[in-house]
């Protein structure tokens, strides 16, 4: 699918003859090449999991977080350029804060996703700036509308996507462990967060003991699969 747009790919304000904006597509590559971020919706909440690649042994555990809190009730997990993602999380926080100031209540998730997507899209229109090189997943839970999940990608589209939260945490950990490619990247740290009935609608990092239980479950199931692979050989 990769094609070179020689000459038409130098700025976001240029279309190629076949109607593509290459700068936006290259931005999406930055996301494809980054490590995995997952958000899953279950019947009583959302769980986020991120495969956080550890670039140096000198980094402290828990540094360079890739899951952000936007207001109390919204979580954001990112993939792609972390610096771009951080600046977008500030944008999302400001939107949520202004909404609360003007209207007196929590910002509805769809509205927040729309507003941030509009912002991301604006950066795909001009040659003076470059598109954001990150996608992110926004998730929230409230009593009336239940759990909701939205995704925004560098082109500025936002779009929407059953277990309980408690069980789902283990499955998300397992997915991240499976997806992690041991050959390509060495060490990684698992970052897990959730928002749902279990946290009364507040987005929080998964508590240490539950996270350790989930990691143990993930590692155990990987070993089982490794064992069964050996049998086949």
């Amino acid at each position: 699918m990769s094609s070179i747009g020689t000459g038409y790919d130098l700025s976001a304000s240029t279309f190629s003859p076949d109607g593509r904006v290459f700068q936006v597509e290259y931005a999406m590559k930055a996301v494809e090449n980054s490590s995995t971020a997952i958000g899953i919706r279950c019947k009583d909440g959302i769980v986020f999991g991120v495969e956080k690649l550890v670039l140096s042994k000198l980094y402290e555990e828990g540094s360079n977080k890739r899951i952000f809190n936007i207001d109390r009730h919204v979580g954001m997990a990112v993939a792609g350029l972390l610096a771009d993602a951080r600046s977008l999380s500030e944008v999302a926080r400001e939107e949520a804060s202004n909404f609360r100031s003007n209207y007196g209540h929590d910002i509805p998730l769809k509205h927040l996703a729309d507003r941030v997507a509009m912002y991301v899209h604006a950066y795909t229109l001009y040659s003076a700036v470059r598109p954001f090189g990150c996608s992110f997943i926004l998730g929230s839970y409230d009593e009336d509308d239940g759990p909701q999940l939205y995704m925004v990608d560098p082109s500025g589209i936002s779009y929407m996507k059953d277990m309980t939260c408690r069980e789902l945490v283990k499955e998300v950990a397992k997915i991240i462990y499976i997806v992690h490619d041991e050959v390509k990247d060495k060490a990684f740290e698992l970052e897990l967060s959730w928002v749902g009935e279990i946290t009364k609608g507040r987005h929080e990092l998964v508590p240490k003991d539950i996270k350790e239980e989930a990691e143990k479950y993930a590692k155990d199931s990987l070993e089982e699969e490794d064992d069964s692979d050996e049998d086949n050989m």
Binding site: N102, Y103, G104, H105, P108, K110, H111, D114, D144
Partner: protein
């Protein structure tokens, strides 16, 4: 009018106030708002049939009191802001949003404005709610009264209000309160306007003076 063309009648230079009685009460499943209809400029009644219950959205109304111009303008601005907001968010606005918008204007311009709006309505999250926005504060209450006529009925409403009234009882409560206030306050009078808001929508009603309940002195 007496041949002295340079002197205008006093009432032209008086500020036009809706010296008023307004009241709003929440019941299980909705709210009832009520107001009188007198607009005075000094001692003159410049409008005896004004409806002081102004729609902010389909199921959110506000009751106007204080300076007529200030109150009407705030209501118009918030009506516009709620229109835009409900389209952006894709659903009916919350009563809390409407009240916050009114409060933001009232607070920001509190030195220049002299109006008190009671905001009441129904939304799907919290049902019927009544908010008070006097001077820029925001407070949700089971019921609220306002305007010059409200001073005369505090005792009545405090004694007669009960939690868990039905729609009909709430409407009677409002009509009685308005009648008593209009009977004693010189700046309140005319007809009584009622708006009942619930999940189905808003229903307006006008009760002319001769159909209002009578009390001991009538």
């Amino acid at each position: 009018m007496l041949g002295e063309s340079s002197i205008q009648p006093e009432w032209l230079s008086e500020e036009v106030k809706t010296g008023t009685t307004i009241i709003a009460i929440g019941y299980e499943g909705g709210v009832v708002l009520g107001s009188d209809s007198r607009v005075s400029a000094g001692a003159s009644v410049v409008n005896r049939v004004m409806n002081k219950l102004s729609p902010l959205h389909d199921k959110i109304y506000c009751a106007l009191s204080g300076s007529a111009a200030d109150a009407q303008t705030i209501a118009e601005i918030v009506n516009y802001q709620l229109d835009v907001h409900s389209i952006e968010v894709g659903e009916d606005p919350l009563v809390r949003s409407a009240a916050t918008l009114v409060k933001n204007i009232s607070y920001k311009y509190k030195e220049e404005l002299s109006a008190h709006l009671i905001v009441a309505g129904w939304d799907r999250r919290a049902g019927g709610q009544v908010y008070v926005t006097l001077d820029g504060l925001l407070s949700m209450q089971p019921f609220a009264v306002g305007g010059s006529g409200s001073s005369y009925i505090y005792g009545f409403v405090d004694a007669e209000y009960r939690k868990g009234m039905t729609k009909k009882e709430s409407q009677e409560f409002v009509v009685n309160a308005l009648t008593l206030a209009m009977g004693r306050d010189g700046s309140s009078g005319g007809v009584a306007y009622l708006v009942t808001i619930d999940q189905e929508g808003a229903v307006e009603r006008c009760i002319p003076g001769n159909e209002l309940p009578t009390f001991f002195d009538q």
